[in-house]
Symmetry: C2
Subunit: 364 residues, 2 copies
Amino acid sequence: MEPKEYRSSIMERRKEVLASLGNLGAKIYEQIDRGFFPSIEMPSRSTENIYYDPKFRQYILGDKRVKRSARNIRHLKPFAQLVWTALFSYELTSQRKTSTLRDVYYSAQAYEMTFKDQQESNNIITDLETVLGFSREDFNIFPEERSAVFGDLTISYTVPGYEGKTLNLTSHPDGVMIGPALTSADFVETSADKVIAIEKGGLFTRFIEENVHKKFNAILVLTAGQAPRATRHFIGRLNRELRLPVYVFTDGDPWGMHIAMVIISGSANAAHLRDLTTPDAKWSGVWATDIVNYKLPTDPLDEIDMKRLYELQKDPRYKEDPLWQREIKTFMKIKRKAEQEAFSRYGLTYIVDEYLPAKLEETK
Amino acid sequence: MEPKEYRSSIMERRKEVLASLGNLGAKIYEQIDRGFFPSIEMPSRSTENIYYDPKFRQYILGDKRVKRSARNIRHLKPFAQLVWTALFSYELTSQRKTSTLRDVYYSAQAYEMTFKDQQESNNIITDLETVLGFSREDFNIFPEERSAVFGDLTISYTVPGYEGKTLNLTSHPDGVMIGPALTSADFVETSADKVIAIEKGGLFTRFIEENVHKKFNAILVLTAGQAPRATRHFIGRLNRELRLPVYVFTDGDPWGMHIAMVIISGSANAAHLRDLTTPDAKWSGVWATDIVNYKLPTDPLDEIDMKRLYELQKDPRYKEDPLWQREIKTFMKIKRKAEQEAFSRYGLTYIVDEYLPAKLEETK
């Protein structure tokens, strides 16, 4: 099935997920009723079927398909595992309980369904995403929480016990966690006109303390390193539903650059999904050229950093915008990296008073 | 100076911190006025001056003292660094801005104060803690946020822009971050009669979803691995100010066991401080004996796990309560470990329905 277009109502989306899981079950029953061995077809996720698509500005799957049939003895186990995972996901979603990848692996034992290891169960969950075109967060399998948000956005919860309750995301000045309740909430109202995503907790706290949310009308998102998928989905919703431009601030090194890229264009692992990306988001810094222009304190790039730069240079996502190639080349030339905190050499508020407005203007 | 006894009012504590920093400065001026080379004395933090104290149930510093004098050419740089750090901390605290260890390192450059590397600046910050008897969070140098809290506790903020505003910590069902605003808030009201600290995000979410906060009248704290110091301080405040017993749930392995121990008895690194520990907190599981009794799915203990067990066996903190030695021996015997999520083999809610009430009763 084709990945789903975005829908604004969370409740509607949940209904679609349940209908989609119900259909999968109905098809299997139908095949059995008609005397056939049941089978499930889905796009192949093998490397040779993954392409970068400039239109979607992300990796997508090609036309190759695979079939899991109960007729084939080698398919029988993964077929049963996939059907069990669909059943378990249906239970989670309809009972509105959430789970983690790890929990799913252990839960299988309660049903006498065996997975060799967690890698095997993770892989079957990705199969189910591919079959349905929904991401696992849609059927309530969430990553561990670690990212946070702060800013003038009022949300309305849809989780049990909180239906219709609202919260303004400036209520707690350390920020609130981005977990199942937040990601399944509807957006009610905002005065913000942009989203600023930040890699590190120290800077997130600084931005709140310096009233960046007010001075720049911004919703602040802490990615806490590589943004978890639920956070990328949330950033995407802020961009699509509220039409807010997104600016990403990371450390000035290949890893920070790639944190921004994965928010913008996603990863090859999620080529079977659509709404985890925010193609119009901007990487606003710390660029290699910022390191030079702002004379930042630096550390040398080590061998692993350099190897990573060569990989990124060849990556199709890094060929979309000449900015990326320019910055990669500058990193290679200066052979230095700098952290976001390095701006503190000019005083704690320099990053907010000088750097941030300059970069927001430059990457508008 | 002796570590400070706990004070309930956050504002009063801030005044004390500022007074203490002011005194340090005044003493230095006085010495100079009287024609002496200025010097600063503090307890030695060298290994031979760190003792386990059964009364405090934590490591403390002994009687050995060290002196940093501007008269000694080798002391001159660390003396200046310490005085600068006190100045910077005074600015932070009086302007009510926060900073991170990393920010302090870079900020020094704005003052033309040089540190060889971050290790050197971290070390000087610890010196300042030792001199003052306050922890760095008291003078507004915070770790990065990553832990969270959820439960019926109403807090009143003291941070700028939020003075006197209150928030009930059930407002956001994914939990709110434990950062500078939360840790500096006063406690107003709670219906909770216990605190449950949890190592992992997946289980924290499960507990909220299953209404553990209501069913067990509990405030839930996510430590997100080893609890950051600000979180240990917060847990300690819940215990001392609200007189709530604290139960800690971790993975069933030496690392989980030690997460609980550090909440209870602190670390040798913080022997110069007092209020980061919660000596009456209980480690409620996952014990090695739980792995046996509940027949949990396990993984083998590897060499590093076993080595860690031998270290812990000899650690004086692990000799306080026979529970620890029994569990260490059981781990060594079964040579297996289990995660908190392993209970999902009996269904997602088994951990809340069966295990949690049994263990709360057992460790009461």
